[in-house]
Amino acid sequence: MSEHLLEVRDLKQYFRVSKKYTVKAVDGVSFHIDAGETYGLVGESGSGKSTIGRSIIRLYTPTSGTVTFEGVEISGALGAKETKHLRTRMQMIFQDPMACLNPRKKVGDIIAQGLDIHHLYRDREERQEKVYRIMEKMGLDREHAGRYPHQFSGGQRQRIGIARALVMEPKLVIADEPISALDVSIQAQVVNLMKDLQGELGAAYLFIAHDLSMVKYISDRIGVLHLGHLVETGTTRDIFERPIHPYTKSLLSAIPHADPRVEKQRVAIGYDYKTSGIDYTLGTYHSLSETHTVLCTDEEFAKWTRV
């Protein structure tokens, strides 16, 4: 029995592209998320971040490994009970708000969709009430409920996507690049809102993003993914102030600074897995502290932690 909200153990997700070619998108990843916290997932493009999110919420069937959510295993065959548990207590926010909002449905009905499917209200009135309440929290007017998605700006649409997820009062929200498509000032708006609502509803977030300054701002803990392996995880402080893994270091060194004189001269620390001599499959999780873990061999651990 785990006391964590979400416990991912040795998750593997392979895709067989052709007879000779299988992509090991996620290759033995373990981490946990506690109630009410934000876990940021960062890493190279193609490293398996979206796949992890999609495997957890069962858009894919995991190749192997276990995922336990509120004490219920959700990685195996799903019965009606598990399905309902998963679909009501866990929600996903997608990167492209337009692609996942049905253009022919009114915004009010889009937001209420999950409530409708799972009959999570006594009557029309309670349904309406729930929709209005979440819209108000998201800074949307009641009268917007009667409009269609294309009548909104990008930032408003993303808030509709978030409202649709949060109206379910989920305990875990998987947010896959929820702000990437938005401009800076609207990004800030959406992130502030997500934080406020977290305080109110006590939801935990799995926050997938590339913008490390936003990840730093919103996350309590962070996991760093490379080539399907979770190479390092720790509190936001652990990762930003004491990165151990060479990939993490390289990633942090590549964050662009909004300062042209610095930025034009800065050289990032390179990292090439092929020539690094590191073999992720040989590594095991080594702990630096209660919160900070890195994937490596004993020798690598000794080498990387030597001051």
């Binding site: 895709f15 592209v17 052709s18 070619y21 992509v23 960062v42 890493g43 190279e44 493009s45 193609g46 490293s47 979206s50 990167q95 492209d96 700006s153 990008g154 930032g155 408003q156 690049e177 990437s180 498509a181 938005l182 401009d183 800076v184 000032s185 609207i186 990004q187 800030a188 708006q189 992130v191 502030n192 934080k195 590339h210 913008d211 490390l212 300054s213 936003m214 730093k216 701002y217 936001t236 390289s250 990633l251 942090l252 060194s253 590549a254 964050i255 662009p256 600074h257 909004a258 300062d259 042209p260 004189r261 610095v262 930025e263 034009k264 001269q265 800065r266 990032a268 990292y271």
Partner: protein
């Protein structure tokens, strides 16, 4: 330096159900050979519409109300000039798009054909425009995929777009844009789906190509770190107008327009501890169908003057390179300083000489 693109008084509108959307209103912009121009600004401010006009991409409900886009390029050692707005769609496609001016579109999924392998999509343009043989095109396609950091390029050539991650698709689109060796490369949010290491790699790759071949690049991005890294010149758009433009140093160290102040303030500062809340520009973007009288930014502008609600400000010149459209620069305006938090952030940048991880 040779000027390669001169945009004057460009205005574009759309007929929509609610009325006429005045998406671009009198844009003036220059692009020099070998230079990198960044366009930043609010969502819906007309950035994409502006660059699509350069590419001759016009939707059916769209009209170009005024303006000219003059393209100068070298042909057999001679400089030639063409007014792009006079070319037909077909002429654009045959003579300009891809080979002279190439564009990476905002949404990579819409510019890839879901039914065709990515290898074929890469090779197609080169076989058509550059008359490469299939073998030549294949070889260069592999080279391009390697260049944009796609490993296992040989196997990936056979993949269909949905089998790639978001960032991989974006890199394929960049490879396609580079494939026909354009003089001008336009990138609309080219790196939003990429992690910072691959983003840096792509930006450096484009810079390298720029150094070698002297191509000019236009970036549209909301990542001010990217702007700081690559841009020589920056244009800031709001509600269809360029409200401020200047060298990258003008914009980052001496911003003059209150919208630019808001934009720079909204960015979390990675070098300090996270604040409790991020700064956001108050209010919401203007309705482009019913623009209010005066400066469209006025209702959201804490520094708005009375004049801002009456008439749209003209563009004032601050230095030979730096321009801004705000009444604050009028002689009669009171002295108004940028917000203190931004001022101290800029001061830390200019004095600190830059400390970084």
């Amino acid at each position: 330096m040779e000027k390669t693109l001169t945009i004057r008084d460009l205005s574009v509108s759309f007929q929509a159900t609610g009325g006429t959307v005045r998406a671009v209103r009198g844009v003036d912009l220059d692009l020099y050979q070998g230079e990198t121009l960044a366009i930043v600004g609010e969502s819906g401010s007309g950035k994409s519409v502006t660059v699509k006009a350069i590419m001759g991409i016009v939707s059916s409900n769209q009209t170009i109300d005024s303006g000219s886009i003059c393209y100068r390029f070298q042909q057999d050692g001679e400089w030639t000039e063409t007014e792009l707005l006079n070319l037909s769609r077909n002429e654009m496609r045959q003579k300009i798009n891809g080979t002279h001016i190439a564009m990476v579109f905002q949404d990579p999924m819409t510019s890839l054909d879901p039914t065709m392998s990515i290898g074929m999509q890469l090779m197609e343009g080169m076989m058509h425009h550059l008359h490469y043989s299939k073998a030549q095109a294949r070889e260069r396609a592999l080279e391009l995929l390697n260049m944009v950091g796609i490993t296992d390029a040989e196997k990936r050539m056979k993949n269909y777009p949905h089998q790639l991650s978001g960032g991989m698709r974006q890199r394929v689109v960049i490879a396609i844009a580079l494939s026909c060796r354009p003089d001008i490369l336009i990138c609309d949010e080219p790196t939003t789906a990429l992690d910072v290491t691959i983003q840096a790699k792509i930006l450096e790759l484009i810079q390298e190509i720029q150094k070698k071949t002297g191509i000019s690049v236009i970036y549209i991005t909301h990542d001010l770190g990217v702007v700081a890294k690559v841009a020589d010149y920056v244009a800031v758009m709001y509600a269809g107008r360029i409200v401020e433009k200047g060298t990258v140093e003008d914009i980052f160290y001496d911003p003059r327009h209150p919208y630019t102040w808001g934009l720079l303030s909204s960015m979390p500062d990675i070098s300090t501890d996270a604040p409790d809340r991020l700064y956001t520009i108050p209010g919401s973007p203007p309705n482009m169908v019913d623009l209010p009288a005066g400066d469209p930014f006025a209702p959201r502008n804490p520094f708005a003057l009375e004049a801002d609600f009456k008439a749209e400000p003209p563009t004032f010149q601050i230095s030979p390179t730096h321009y801004a459209a705000t009444w604050l620069l009028d002689d009669r305006a009171p002295q108004v300083e940028m917000p203190e938090s931004l001022r101290s952030r800029i001061q830390a940048m200019t004095e600190g000489g830059g400390v970084c991880v």
